[in-house]
Amino acid sequence: MERQVTPGARFVDPKILARIGNLELLARTVVEGFINGLHRAPFFGASIDFAEHRGYVAGDDIRRVDWRLYARTDRYYVKQYEADTNTNVSILFDISKSMQFASRGIPKLEYGCFVGACMAYLAQRQRDRVGIITFDSDIVTHVPPSAKHFNITLHTLDRARAERPGNLGVPLNKMAEHFKRRGILILISDFYEEPDTILEAIKPLRFIGNELIVFHVLDPAELDFGYDDASSFEDLETGEQIPVVPESLRDEYRAMIRAHIEALTTKFSEHRIDYTLLNTAEPLDRALFSYLSSRERLMRVR
C-alpha cells in the first residue's frame, strides 16, 4: 500500500505522473507574474527572452533603452522581454449529482478528482499557484489559488461529494466576476446542458484572458448506451423516471451524444478553448497524456 503523506495524495498516481512529468505544461497565453517558469508572462517585463522593440515614450525606464540600436538608427527604442512567471491555476470542478454516475469502474466524480489532482500537481511543480472551486448549481467550495494551497486543493477534491443537481450558468457567472487576474482555468464537468448554454456560461471566464482547459468526463455507458433490458431510467439529478427500451433508441441516443460532443468540440475550438473528452473507462494517464500532447503541439505551432 502506498504511503500517503498528504491528504488527497492518493489522487496522484505515480504511474500517471511518471508519464506526465516528461511533458511541459505550457500556457497558451502569457500570464502576468514575475517568477521565472514555464509560463510566459502576459506582460512584457524583465526576462531573458527578448520580445520586441518599441519606441521610447516619456516615462519609460531609460535603462531599457537599447543603446546599440540608438547608435545605428539614432532613435530611442526600448527592448521588451517576455518574462516567464508563475500563474494562477484554478480547477473548476463540477460536483453535480450526475457526476456520481458509474456504470462500471470508477464514478465520473472520482475520475474528475484524479484529473484535477494531476493538474494541481503539475501546476504545483511549476510553482504555479493552485486553487479549486467546486460547484453544482452554485459554488460549493472555493479555494483561492495560492502557492500554499496545493494540499488544500487535494483535500477539497477528496471531500467532494456529488449530492445536488447541477447548473453551469450561475456558478460560472459568479466565478467570472471573482477572477481578477488572468490564469489557467481547468473546468471538469460532464456538460449535461445544451452546447450554446454551456458556451454562454463559459464565455465570461474568458473575458479577462483566462486560459480555459475543459475536460468533458463521460462514462462509457453514457457514450454507447449499452443497456439491454427495458427499464425505468431515472435522471440522477431530477429524479424523473422514464420507461425506456434501450435497444429501440440506442442508435438515436448514440447519434445525439455524438452530435453533442461534436458541437462542444466545434464551439470550444472556435473560442480557442481546449476541449478534451475523457472516458472513465480509459486509463487516466492516457487521457492526460493525449491532452498535454495536444497542448504542447499547439504551443509549438505558435
Binding site: 449535461y192 455507458a221 425505468s232 424523473e240 427500451v245 445525439m256
Partner: protein, 687 residues
C-alpha cells in the same frame, strides 16, 4: 343466442386487462439510474417497443379466457334450441308406476308390464326425465329422475314381482309428489298394472292437479280364473299327553269355471303327509279337512298346496304350529277359609286358549320356590306371606304378574321395606256400602288391555255387579287406575315393576264383598286379568305380507338374532337393550327363520307369512275410472301436446347449461396461459 344476465357482459371490458398486462407488467419495476435523460427525453417516444405485443398467442389466450368467463357469467343460451323444444312441447317429466304386487305374477302379466315400461322409456325424448316407481302395498322410488335410458332399462330388468298386495293410493301420491316438484311443464305419470279392483277403494286421497296427466297401461287378462288358499284353521285336541291338530284348509275359486278334483296337499316339516281332493264351484269357497296329526314340538312348519293355476303364489298357504303352553298360576289365600278361592279357581279352570294351570296354597306355606316357573301369583284376600317379599319382588321384576285381591284380610308390606314399593298405592281400611245402596263399578279404563275386550257395546255389563265392601286405596302418581267405583274410589290399580305387572283389585273376587263372581263378566274379567299379568299372547300361526313384527316382544333372550327371510336374505337384529327397534317387516311370502347368533341347538323360531287374500281377487278395475278419479278428467288427454308452451329463457338456459362449459374452458385456457407465460418468462431475461 341470448343471455340470461346480460349485464355481466359489461365485464368484457376486462378484456383490456390482458392487454394492459402485456404492456405494463412487462415493464417490471427495475430502475436504472442515469446521469441525465436530456437525450432520452428528446427521442419522440421512448417506449415504442414496450407497446409492441410480442406474444400474440399469450394475449389471445388471456383475452379468450376472460371473455369465456364473462360469457359464462352472462348465462348464455341458444334461442333456436329453446324454440325447437317449445315447438315439440318441451321436455317431459315422466313417472313410471310399475305394479310389482303378487298378482302381477299371474301368467305373463309381469313380462307384459315390463315391456310396457320399456316402451315408455324408449319413448322418452332427449331432454325428458323419468322416474321409476315400483309399488305394491307401498311405493318406492327405484330410479330417481334421470334421462339415462340405459339405467332405467336396467332398473326395469332387475325389478321382480313381490308378495305385497296392490294399493294404488301410495303410488299415485308419490307420483304426484315427484311431478309437483318438477319445474317442467309436461308432467306425466304412466301406471302399468293389472288394475285389480281390490287395490283401489276410491277413498284414496290421490289427486293430480291440472297439468299432470295420468296414462294407464293395463296388462290384465280377460280371464281372471284363480284358485287360492286364503286361510287355514286348526282344531287342537289333547291325546295321551300330546296335542293333536286337525288342519282344515279353505279354498276359494275366483273363476267362472268350476274346479274339480283339485289335489290339496298338506305338508308338515317338509313332508307331504296327506293329499286330499276337492271341488270348488265358480266364485265359491270350499274347505278341506285333513286327518289330525300329533304336534311333537314347537315351530312345526306346515303348508297347504292346492292345485295349479297361472298365479301359483296364492295356491300355497304356510303356517307354523307349536304346542299350547299353559299359564301357571298360584293362588295364595287366607288361613280361615278352605273355599276362599273357589270362584277364582273355577273360572280359571275353564278355557283352552290358554289353559290355566292352577295351584292353590295358603300364605303360611309360601316360600320362594312357590314362585318358580309361575306366570301369575294371586294374593287372594290374604295377609302378605311372611318372608316372601324379596322373592316376590324378584319374581315381578323378572316379568311375573301379581294380582292382589284386596279383601278384609289383605295386608301389604308398608314402610321402608324394599318390597313395599312393589304394590301400587297405599291400602287403607274397608269401606262398607251395605248400609245404603250398594256400590258398583262406575269407571273402566277401556284403553287398558284388561278392559279392551269390553269396549264394544253389549260386551259386558259391569254395572250389574254389586259391591258391598271394598278397601280404600290411595293411588300413587305412577300408578294407573284401571277402574273406579261409583263413588270414585279406586277399584283396580296397576303398577309396573321391572318387566312385571302388579294389579290390586280392591274388592274380592268371590261372593263375600261383591256379587261379581256370579255375573257374566266375571269369567272374562278374570281371564283378562290373568292373561294380561302373564303377558299371554295367543300363538299366531301365520302373518300376512306387509305386517310388521316386533321381535323384542317375542324375544326370549337378550342376544342378537339372525333373521333369514324366505328368499334366503339374512339380516341381523341386535339384541335387546341395544337401542334398536327390533321391528321386522314381513315382505316375502314363506317361512322366516329367527335364530340366535350364539345358540346352535334346537329348532329355530319360525314365522309363516302368507299373501294378503285380497290379492287373489284378480277382478280388474276400469283404468279410465281410476284416471277420472285421480285427474278429474274422463280421459287422459295430453294437454301439453295439444298446446305446446313456450319454454322460458330460464328453462332454456338451465337445460343447455352452456355457462358450465364456458367456465371450464376459460379456466383451462388460464391454466394453459400460465404455463406458457412461465416458460416464456424463463426463456427471456426480461419480458
Amino acid at each position: 343466442m341470448g343471455f340470461l344476465t346480460p349485464l355481466f357482459l359489461v365485464g368484457l371490458s376486462a378484456l383490456a386487462i390482458p392487454v394492459l398486462i402485456h404492456l405494463i407488467q412487462r415493464e417490471r419495476k427495475r430502475v436504472v439510474e442515469f446521469p441525465s435523460l436530456m437525450f432520452v427525453r428528446r427521442i419522440p417516444y421512448q417506449s415504442v417497443r414496450r407497446r409492441r405485443i410480442r406474444h400474440w398467442a399469450l394475449l389471445m389466450l388471456r383475452a379468450a379466457a376472460v371473455a369465456l368467463i364473462v360469457l359464462a357469467f352472462a348465462r348464455p343460451f341458444f334461442r333456436r334450441d329453446a324454440a325447437v323444444i317449445a315447438a315439440t312441447g318441451g321436455a317431459r317429466e315422466v313417472v313410471i308406476l310399475l305394479d310389482q304386487s303378487a298378482s302381477m305374477g299371474y301368467g305373463d302379466h309381469w313380462q307384459k308390464a315390463r315391456d310396457a315400461a320399456r316402451a315408455v322409456v324408449s319413448g322418452l325424448g332427449r331432454d325428458d326425465k323419468a322416474t321409476l316407481v315400483l309399488f305394491s302395498r307401498n311405493a318406492e322410488e327405484n330410479m330417481r329422475a334421470t334421462s339415462d335410458r340405459s339405467r332405467l332399462a336396467a332398473a326395469i330388468n332387475t325389478a321382480k314381482v313381490g308378495s305385497g298386495a296392490t294399493r294404488y293410493g301410495p303410488a299415485l301420491k308419490l307420483a304426484e309428489s315427484i311431478l309437483s316438484r318438477s319445474p317442467v311443464k309436461r308432467r306425466e305419470a304412466v301406471l302399468i298394472s293389472d288394475f285389480q279392483k281390490t287395490g283401489w277403494s276410491g277413498s284414496e286421497d290421490a289427486k293430480f292437479p291440472d297439468g299432470m296427466t295420468l296414462t294407464t297401461a293395463s296388462v290384465a287378462s280377460p280371464s281372471t280364473a284363480n284358485l287360492s288358499v286364503p286361510s287355514v284353521s286348526f282344531g287342537r285336541a289333547a291325546f295321551s299327553g300330546q296335542e293333536r291338530v286337525t288342519v282344515t284348509a279353505g279354498l276359494s275359486n275366483k273363476g267362472d269355471e268350476p274346479l274339480k278334483d283339485i289335489p290339496v296337499v298338506l305338508t308338515v316339516d317338509g313332508h307331504d303327509i296327506e293329499t286330499a281332493r276337492a271341488a270348488v264351484a265358480p266364485h265359491a269357497s270350499a274347505s278341506v279337512a285333513f286327518a289330525p296329526f300329533t304336534l311333537v314340538g314347537a315351530n312345526v312348519r306346515g303348508s297347504i298346496h292346492a292345485g295349479s293355476d297361472p298365479l301359483p303364489a296364492d295356491n300355497a298357504f304356510h303356517f307354523v304350529l307349536s304346542p299350547s303352553e299353559p299359564v301357571s298360576i298360584v293362588i295364595v289365600d287366607g288361613l280361615d277359609r278352605s273355599d276362599a278361592s273357589l270362584f277364582l279357581a273355577k273360572a280359571l279352570a275353564i278355557g283352552t286358549r290358554p289353559v290355566f294351570q292352577i295351584d292353590v296354597t295358603s300364605a303360611s306355606r309360601v316360600s320362594p320356590p312357590t314362585f318358580d316357573k309361575r306366570s301369575v301369583v294371586v294374593l287372594n284376600d290374604t295377609p302378605f306371606p311372611p318372608g316372601s317379599g324379596g322373592a316376590l319382588k324378584r319374581f315381578v321384576e323378572r316379568g311375573g304378574g301379581v294380582l292382589v285381591v284386596a279383601g278384609d284380610h289383605t295386608t301389604l308390606p308398608t314402610g321402608s321395606t324394599s318390597e313395599a314399593d312393589l304394590f301400587p298405592g297405599r291400602l287403607a281400611g274397608s269401606i262398607d256400602r251395605t248400609s245404603a245402596r250398594s256400590g258398583s263399578l262406575g269407571f273402566l279404563d277401556y284403553s287398558h288391555p284388561v278392559f279392551e275386550v269390553f269396549k264394544a257395546p253389549r260386551s259386558g255389563d259391569f254395572s250389574a255387579a254389586h259391591v258391598f265392601r271394598y278397601r280404600a286405596l290411595e293411588a300413587g302418581p305412577n300408578d294407573r287406575v284401571l277402574a273406579r267405583f261409583d263413588d270414585g274410589a279406586v277399584a283396580a290399580v296397576e303398577k309396573k315393576a321391572g318387566l312385571g305387572r302388579v294389579i290390586v283389585w280392591t274388592s274380592t273376587l268371590d261372593d263375600t264383598s261383591t256379587d261379581i263372581a256370579v255375573k257374566p263378566v266375571f269369567l272374562p274379567l278374570v281371564h283378562q286379568l290373568v292373561r294380561y299379568l302373564a303377558h299371554y299372547e295367543a300363538a299366531t300361526s301365520w302373518f300376512t305380507v306387509g305386517q310388521v313384527l316386533d321381535l323384542t316382544a317375542r324375544a326370549r333372550t337378550r342376544a342378537a338374532r339372525i333373521v333369514v327371510s324366505p328368499s334366503g336374505e339374512r339380516t341381523t337384529q341386535a339384541g335387546m337393550g341395544e337401542g334398536t327397534e327390533g321391528l321386522l317387516e314381513l315382505n316375502d311370502q314363506g317361512i322366516y327363520e329367527i335364530r340366535g347368533t350364539g345358540a346352535s341347538g334346537g329348532r329355530p323360531e319360525a314365522i309363516a307369512v302368507n299373501l294378503d287374500p285380497v290379492e287373489s281377487d284378480l277382478a280388474p278395475l276400469d283404468p279410465s275410472a281410476l284416471v277420472a278419479s285421480v285427474t278429474g278428467h274422463a280421459t287422459s288427454v295430453d294437454v301439453q301436446q295439444a298446446s305446446p308452451q313456450e319454454m322460458t329463457r330460464e328453462d332454456a338456459e338451465r337445460r343447455q347449461s352452456l355457462w358450465w362449459y364456458l367456465l371450464l374452458t376459460g379456466v383451462g385456457l388460464l391454466a394453459i396461459e400460465t404455463t406458457i407465460a412461465n416458460r416464456l418468462s424463463r426463456k427471456e431475461k426480461f419480458l
